[in-house]
Symmetry: C2
Amino acid sequence: MMSNDQPVTYLNLDEIHHLAQVALESNGFSQAQANSIAISVTAAERDGCQSHGLFRVSFYINALRNSIADAKAEPALQVNDSTVIHVDGKNGFCPLALDIGLPALVSKAQMHGTAALAIHNVYNIAALWPEVELLAQQGLVAFAFTTSNAYVTPAGGIKPLFGTNPMAFGFPREAMPPLVFDQASSASARGEIQLHQRDGQPIPDGWAIDREGLPTNDPDAALAGAQLPFGGHKGASIALMVELLAGALIGENFSVDSSSQDTHRVGAPFGGELLLAIDPEKFGSTQYLQRAEFLFSQMLDMPGTRLPSQRRYEQREKSVTQGVAMPARLLTELAEMTNN
Amino acid sequence: MMSNDQPVTYLNLDEIHHLAQVALESNGFSQAQANSIAISVTAAERDGCQSHGLFRVSFYINALRNSIADAKAEPALQVNDSTVIHVDGKNGFCPLALDIGLPALVSKAQMHGTAALAIHNVYNIAALWPEVELLAQQGLVAFAFTTSNAYVTPAGGIKPLFGTNPMAFGFPREAMPPLVFDQASSASARGEIQLHQRDGQPIPDGWAIDREGLPTNDPDAALAGAQLPFGGHKGASIALMVELLAGALIGENFSVDSSSQDTHRVGAPFGGELLLAIDPEKFGSTQYLQRAEFLFSQMLDMPGTRLPSQRRYEQREKSVTQGVAMPARLLTELAEMTNN
């Protein structure tokens, strides 16, 4: 999202958090909802994921135009004897629902070995890596799945049905940030097509089809048509799996439901999220951390390879010491959005 | 695997089972090991997956040349208060270990909502869809993961490290066979490259690199080099996840360990398998089956689409009524393998 032709200001992480928090609260978000969103936004800026950073504060504020969204929602945790935990987000936003559900998921997984957390009735426009990273930092193996809006066509299809449907995975490391990936089931992020559109650039082959189902390199035609899954029918299977897990299984919206309900064209998908957590300590192997390091070292011995989360962690180290370069235009937009 | 230039014999499913069972028992397999393998082989023939059918009986027999394999192994089930079940396959083959572990996994998942089954110390050269289908037939959402031999290079890499690492997923359907997919993390199955080699045909772009790390269409160079993951770095992430789950987490071999231990070049990977099962009934949604059907119907309304398991189930219907066409050469080979 960074362009090189405008002045930048370096902000530290506290400043970024504060800007997001104030902008959200001044637009009617409760302190708790705003704080959880600000943590999510700040983590994204810290790790160099600008598209989920301060840039996204406007998405949260715009979502309030949709009458269902509740910026003061107080999510409710539901725990019973099973290993399945629920949080009803009550039409608020996902970050606070996660902050309430994740500690309970950690406890359940540590007690039983496996556990699931279903988040209900939330607007989810954040990345999934923060929650799997948090779970893996607690020593757990973690999965996260969520739907989005209907943007992606099934293999062989011509109309959008699936979301970009990210799936995230985390595995703990000793004295290191966890192994984490968070990847869309689509060939590209929707935002990447929008960036090509903004810059007047053609999109690569394999990203999208137009409204007639024909391959296109035109970002306008792609956005009006459908995105393609990554890796052909195998990526489409992953997208279908995400719909079934984060939609049917937990009783929440499919991506196509979010789109049909989004009558205000806000683009903030409304539905749920499924997390799975596994405690390796219950599997009896005492060497799983060392064994994982053996695999990583075999991989990194090959020049040209890197671990999925490596670039994000490198950026994090820089951000913590140097702050984050914020484009002046973004800060101006945020100031205009902030009601005094 | 079928070629059209040789006579075929139609066998019914009982006959296929019997051929496999007798061939295995005559080579020293216990009745129980042989029966579980014969069930697996017969299911593959029934569903048109010839590469996991009678063709594979020779792989099982060849694996005995490796001194670790035990054709009379009696797997041991280990269940405790947690949701994690273990089966020690005791150096036998995976199908019998699964037959012993799956009923316990179903019980645990139905009791707690989530559960895991770790299979240890087995040779696994079968497909994964039978076990996720069985779990989904019992009403559960199911995942299966297993490593193989080091055939696939990481994204950006030039040497084989990951296995073809299939991941299978099952979701129940009402009065219908479950939604199931079982897909390799590699761009192609290794057997597909071997078939191109046999037929003197070049392989498609994107399947493999040679020993120097350069793209190749030559099946010999591909088999001596490395296979590529499907969908670039995203497929490579899935392959890495499978290694961590079916290797590090459960304390079993990585694919690269199987290869280095396979001193007899048998090619039957030795290690484990991880299964996860989730009971949708514990999630509180009463509509998950109908909701899944809604999604499937939206998908199938588009001409050119199909559900992942559709062709397999269509073949199954034919096989049950008409029997399965077996090439004469395969039956001759099997007869030669069967000690009288």
